[in-house]
């Protein structure tokens, strides 16, 4: 399935989460959203967001302070 990329670099809490929530609405169930952020707080927050909203955080990486999250829409 195709992957949508959301760039929230430079944005601070809670904007990465709010933008992610908006973006995931437009992803079909089973589809994947890739979020790219620079907010170090988003590492824990993205995990909590996915847990609470029943979506899957398939993985994340830290590339020198640029964080990439791969979220699969589950519901």
């Amino acid at each position: 399935m195709s992957k949508t990329v959301l760039d929230v670099k430079g944005l601070n809490c809670p904007l990465p989460i709010l933008r992610t929530k908006k973006a995931i609405k437009d992803i079909p169930v089973g589809g994947e959203l890739e979020v790219v952020a620079t907010d170090p707080g988003s590492v824990k927050d993205m995990e909590a967001f996915c847990k609470q909203t029943n979506n899957e955080l398939k993985g994340w990486s830290d590339n020198g302070g640029v964080y990439t999250f791969n979220i699969v829409r589950k519901s």
Partner: protein, 163 residues
């Protein structure tokens, strides 16, 4: 919204300075994004956050913990200097430029998003009367009610906060 199984949160919002406007609006937006039903009850100085014309300020007075970053250092303000006319607006514009620089949302933006996310906002009718606020000066889409409305809602919420 209005999912019977959804978690819910309420907050009593009592402060209307630029710094204290952030915690309730950040939590309300984040909770709404995470699927919670959110109710905010604005009372006393918190009502300032519902005015159409937002003109929020901060003061350094009485805030011993306030340290503004400046040229790699942290600046604190003795109360005596903070009391000089013009200091509040200086501190406010410093804070606003920091907010912009650090990618933090503005209060206007957060409030707009809260409305968009259907956060329920209740203005305290008693405070409206007490401070002689006019409904036409407040944003649209809010309710006017009192303590009983809040308490009834709070009894059904998973999280209740006072800010």
């Amino acid at each position: 919204m209005s999912d019977a199984n959804a978690k819910s949160m309420s907050m009593i919002v009592t402060k209307g300075t630029l710094d204290w406007a952030y915690p309730p609006l950040i939590l309300a937006n984040t909770a709404a994004s995470m699927g919670l039903e959110v109710t905010l009850f604005f009372t006393f100085y918190g009502l300032a956050l519902l005015k159409k014309d937002l003109n929020l300020k901060i003061t350094t007075l009485g805030n011993a913990a306030m340290e503004m970053p400046m040229m790699g250092m942290h600046m604190t303000m003795p109360n005596l200097i903070g009391a000089v006319p013009g200091m509040d607006s200086m501190a406010t514009s410093m804070m606003k430029s920091l907010i912009k620089k650090k990618g933090v949302a503005s209060i206007e933006e957060l409030r707009e998003m809260a409305v968009e996310q259907e956060v329920r906002m209740i203005a305290c009718q008693m405070t409206m009367d007490l401070f002689e606020y006019d409904q036409k000066d407040m944003i649209d889409g809010i309710e006017y009610a009192g303590a009983a409305t809040y308490i009834e809602r709070a009894t059904q919420c998973d999280i209740n906060l006072f800010i």
